[in-house]
Subunit: 208 residues, 2 copies
DNA sequence: CTTGGTTTGTACTGTGAGTACAACATACGA
DNA sequence: TCGTATGTTGTACTCACAGTACAAACCAAG
């Protein structure tokens, strides 16, 4: 069941739009069969049901994200620069595949209840950020924060929500331009913060 | 159907944990009936089906958040301070009601497909942030950014993902302490950013 | 005690997921 | 050429569960 023939796999993508639009519940297996051209019996021959269809599609998306981010993270630059690259990479993939992202948002609950997917989600989205933040403290390119885990989570949220919501807004004419725009905004926020220069540091006394 | 008797409303909360755990799909109406003590026929007398149960529960959560944040935002302080208060308020409510939050994550797709809830989601989470960011620029307590909409979205994501994921981790012994902890981390990130003092501003030339 | 809204049990209908299976195709080695 | 294994597909099921119908009971308030 794991190695679905390539032809079928590509046909299955025809169901992504459908699932994104109506949610997995609102989508009948018969609809998927019709949209992809794969007869219901064949779907059941290879896959363990509706959930498996979603699992296959999202697994692929998550692999793409993890891959792109992985490349971005593996450079010789300092952590701050790699963080910027990772943000751009993640948003790039997400905006390239809006209907997969919409399907992901729509069936997040189901996704997190599918153990493999939950792990892939973590690997694709959260862990690279967490790692970069730690690296940045080591190489001095990012600040030490009081609660690294919580901050990593928030950074992850900032990126992911921006990407998902851009995907939900509907496909854009120029995904990579959008990715660059969002990426710049997030980077600006995450690196420099929103406080005005004058008011900065009037809160905490200790710089480290 | 809108004004469900108070007694039933309170009984209905007994279903939140169930729905959070198994998702709405994995929860039979009969299960809800059993968990709440409200017979199936009575549920259908008042509510339009399973979705309406979820809609009722989440509507309430969203109202609480919108309310708490609304209070936090309506003070005489400057926008930066009010932003801190809003973050704390939002996280406070979320951590106070972890199973509602889990239900929200789990059935986010359904929630966004229910028009009333989608609007309530926006009102509760996103709009207050957007407003505060704009206010901060006016009163000088927050920096002007290049793409305010994208930044507002990211801030919203940072807060919300932190809250949701804390809720998903399971209920905590001391919700308000957790809220304070997360709130501090997010505030630190969002206001001061992660760049080290030395490297700050070596990217963009124009301060405005 | 009657009228009108609620409450609830019971029995039903309809839909769609998933299964069973037989017929057929295709490949590949003997 | 045949035989066997592996995939493909149509058809016809089963079964669980959402939602509906309805009648009997209940409980005000006039």
């Amino acid at each position: 069941m794991r190695k679905l023939p390539a032809k079928l796999a590509s046909q299955l993508y025809g169901a992504a739009e459908l699932i994104a639009e109506r949610g997995l519940d609102g989508t009948k297996i018969e609809d998927i069969a019709e949209a992809t051209g794969i007869p219901k019996a064949t779907i059941y021959y290879h896959l363990d049901g509706k959930n498996a269809v979603l699992e296959f599609l999202l697994g692929d998306l998550l692999d793409m994200i993890a891959g792109a981010v992985g490349v971005a993270v593996t450079s010789e630059e300092n952590a701050r620069t790699r963080l910027e690259a990772a943000v751009l990479a993640q948003l790039g993939v997400m905006l390239e595949h809006p209907s997969l992202c919409r399907a992901l948002v729509g069936d997040l609950g189901r996704a997190t209840r599918l153990p493999e997917l939950a792990a892939a989600l973590r690997t694709a989205f959260y862990e690279p950020i967490e790692q970069l933040l730690a690296d940045g403290v080591s190489d001095g390119s990012l600040r030490q924060v009081a609660d690294p885990a919580a901050v990593a989570l928030s950074v992850f949220g900032a990126i992911t929500v921006a990407g998902l919501s851009a995907a939900v807004e509907g496909p854009s004419a120029d995904p990579s331009a959008d990715a660059a725009r969002f990426s710049a905004a997030i980077t600006e926020l995450v690196l420099d913060g929103l406080a005005t220069p004058g008011s900065r540091d009037q809160r905490r006394g200790d710089p480290l």
